[in-house]
């Protein structure tokens, strides 16, 4: 079942007298439970697509159906509600609340949505059970990113969006995080979309969308993804 259907999606930014088309008339479909990777160089428009998918930005034109509802038509409040109940977001720089413990950071997300997962269980799921009462500043980068993933997961969202989730991590930790995301996708059946510029990760995805200059360069389905642990780059 198609969970995401983008049709003629475009996003323009006006910078003074110039109009920049960050996303230029793209269409794609993502099936439920797939591990999708959006790949491209800087400025290719991949983060813009992720922001549109996450309801953090609205397209200039086109439609973006998520589970059948066109979020391109949503107002500010509807977008907030969509982010609240349907989306989990993982950032490159974690963006954890520095004044809350790991568990409280997870609760922060779970307390506002309709059908949340148990915070402690989610932390254990990402391997942070023993770190639940630590503050972000007391955890390593990898642990913080696990915390951010737990926070995104605890909302029990339909879609998990990850923007360069390994960008701030070392090679080994980055690999572990990607493996975690893949496992979560497969075990929980959630749709996971990872944005990255690292082409070496391409074989790990079920679906690979390559982007260039705001357009989709290629859309590839991979029937036999390679486990990330087996990859070297």
């Amino acid at each position: 079942m198609a969970v995401i259907q983008a049709e003629h999606l475009a996003r323009e930014y006006v910078m003074g007298k110039n109009v920049i088309r960050a996303v230029d008339d793209i269409s794609f479909t993502i099936q439920e439970g797939t591990y999708t990777m959006i790949l491209g160089a800087s400025g290719a428009g991949k983060s813009t697509v992720l922001n549109l998918l996450g309801g953090m930005d609205s397209p200039t034109s086109g439609s973006l159906r998520i589970n059948g509802r066109d979020i391109a038509r949503f107002n500010k409040r509807q977008l907030a509600e969509y982010r609240r109940n349907s989306i989990g977001f993982v950032f490159q720089f974690y963006n954890l609340m520095p004044n809350l413990t790991m568990r409280e950071n997870v609760e922060l997300a779970s307390q506002i949505c309709k059908d949340p997962l148990d915070a402690q269980e989610t932390l254990e799921l990402v391997g942070l059970g023993e770190r639940s009462s630590n503050f972000p500043s007391q955890c390593s980068g990898g642990e913080q990113q696990r915390g951010a993933i737990a926070r995104a997961l605890a909302k029990n969202p339909a879609i998990l969006l990850c923007d360069e989730p390994t960008g701030a991590l070392d090679y080994k930790t980055g690999k572990a995080i990607l493996a975690l995301l893949y496992d979560l996708c497969k075990k929980s059946g959630k749709t996971v979309i990872v944005v990255t510029h690292n082409g070496a990760l391409a074989p790990t995805a079920d679906v690979l969308i390559r982007m260039k200059s705001g357009r989709i360069e290629s859309y590839e389905e991979n029937p036999a993804p390679v486990p990330v642990q087996e990859l070297e780059w």
Binding site: N51, G54, M56, D57, K76, R77, A80, E81, Y82, R83, R84, N85, I87, F89, F91, Q92, F93, N95, L96, M97, P98, N99, L100, E104, E107, L108, A109, Q111, I112, C113, F135, P136, S137, Q138, R151, K155
Partner: protein, 769 residues
Amino acid sequence: MIWRNFLRDLRQTAPRLISVMVITMIAVMVYTALNGVLYHVQQVTAAYGQTQNVADYWISGAGLDRSDCRVLEQIDGVAGVQPRITWEAQERGNEDVQLLVYAVADWAINTPYLVGGALPADEREMAVSDVFAAANGLSVGDSYEMLLTGTDQVLRLRISGLVKSPECLYHVNATTPMPELGRYGFAYCSQDVLSGLMGSNRYNQICITTSDEVDDAALRRAVDERLGDKVVNVLAREDNLAADRLRGMTEDLTPILRLFPILFFLCAVLLMVSNMSRLIESGRSAIGTFKALGYSDRTILWYYLLHAVLVVLVGFPLGVAPNGLIARLLVETLSTGCDLPVYGLANDYRSWGQALALTVLCCVGSAFFVARSLLKESPAQCMRPQPPKSTKPVLLEKLPFLWRRLGFNQKYIIRNALRNKARMLTCVVGIAFCMGLVLAAFALRDAVTHYAGALTSNQNKYDLMVDLGAGVTEGQYRRLAASANTEGAEFEMTTAGWFYAPGRMTTAALTVAEDQSWLHLYDPYAQGVLNLPEDGAVLSQSMADELNVTTGDTVTVRFTGDSRYYTMKVSRILRGVSGAYVGRGFWRSLGRPYVPTTAYAAAADRTALAAELDRYDFVDGWQTRETVTDAAAEQLSSASLVAYILIVFGGSLACVVIYNLGIMSFLEQIRSLATLMVLGFYDKEIKRLQLSENIIFAAGGICAGIPMGIGLSYVIIALLSDMPLQVNTRPVSFVLSCAVTLLFALLVNWMIGRKMREIDMLGALKSVE
């Protein structure tokens, strides 16, 4: 290119820069304006005193002559001596218009300041107060006739000049406790004009000037030793209300005028330093980049110092620009009633310099230290994000049963507040300061209202106040009391008196009131029937201060036209009264004649009584209670302007503090707020979270501000010692001041709430922390 970047950088840092500029401006404005007031008054009084050679001592006595002047000239430190005769007079045929005549031997001391015409050339001329002349339609060349008090002698003198006098700066006597130069003026003439009154070369006053280093006690001793019992009183300039009123009053306000600018500056310094530090700190990665590109430390240092220099360059001139206006307004308020020549405002450039130095030190200094410490780091270190602050569980977390009960919002706010203790403390103190000032303003207003209320409901229960003619007989005033239109009447006699205490003297009104009164009470705050002491006098607090006496001490009193001295015990000292009060019984025991000057009548029929009063030839006039009480209350409202101005300054600074801290908190948490937005928090929920922190700080500030405001109101009212005010703050004032402070905080919240709409979720989350 680096400077082009500087200019573009300014656009981003503008809100914070403007905030520091506003703080700098207010601090400079308050500091220079209030110090300027003191400086201006000092300069003007010193310049006026110096050019007109105002006396340092007024020696009053009987039978003083030229040989006494020669004796005084020989005392160490005495620079000049001027004998003269002073005499009260009234306009011929109009006892309402009075004059104090100074018949002088020369013009060397207390030289009148000529406004028009010339000083008297011979014994047929005199110079009068220009204000008196204007009020009575007199001009140079006119002749004026006056009757010398206590004599039958009428003088007819030609007005040669219109003058102001340095010794009559605040010209008052017993019946005009506030200067009314139109009704009670002064005149200068040659000693020959009055020589007939005392005999040739006989005087009742000698004025002396002294060198700066003269010792007051030694001089008084020397005068006493050499002139013996000829001397009645030696009055120094600082004790002479008429000559020293302005300086004295400014001195009374000096604690406020000195304290407030320092408080303001301290508060502003705190914000300047913290804002400048944060501003430079925020340029951390840019400093690293500049260094990595090879720019010299000096160039980078200048780059950031220029931000601070810009703050000073804009903030300082804006601060001193309205200086003239504010100082002039304050000086005019302070010098109400003082008869001064027109002086241009003397700018206190020293305080300007101090303010500039302090501003440069705070802004440029803090920028310098922060920038220099960043420059010491390597480019790589600078470009790396700052290590996160170490986080420890707060004390409350050690009480799990309590901590677990708290919701996420409460935990978030508590941790946030406790992790930024300095910010929390500055915020609470800033709001407390605002609350304190607002409460003090309300308390002051209440004190004035309370006094006005006391005037109508307690002190004055009569219907009409009647001015009785000078020659009123007992039969006449008894007739008034017994009239069918009068339900009750009380009489008062007001006379002038010279009050002496060891080493001190003052002139004041002495009122002889009924032993027991209820229509017009001497104490505005008393209720019901009020008795006057049987064994002594009631003195006003300011008079007791001037004479340096307390309850139980004795004062000596001399009255016009009576060379005897009367001793009175000080039975009570009250803040709310004017001058001195004695009961009729006590007055009679002194053996002094009793001729009432005022009657207070409760009317059975006010209109009929008014009509009856108009028919009596012994009645000079009458006024309704409302007119009298309104005039008394009006005097206070104008005088309290000074305090209000100070409070407005404080309030505006506190507003800036609240805004500044609120916006700082917002900017520091913009990333967390953006995260909450991404997580799906609604705008309303995010606002509640962020703004409830501000409200909690405001509540803390309000709680701390209440005792501060109460203390401040006592200080302000104590400092305004000349006003018969009492602290009487109504509960509604507490509520109102809390509401006003909360309103400031809510206003700031509203402004920040609007700014929240501008949060760029994507931009905020993309960057490194």
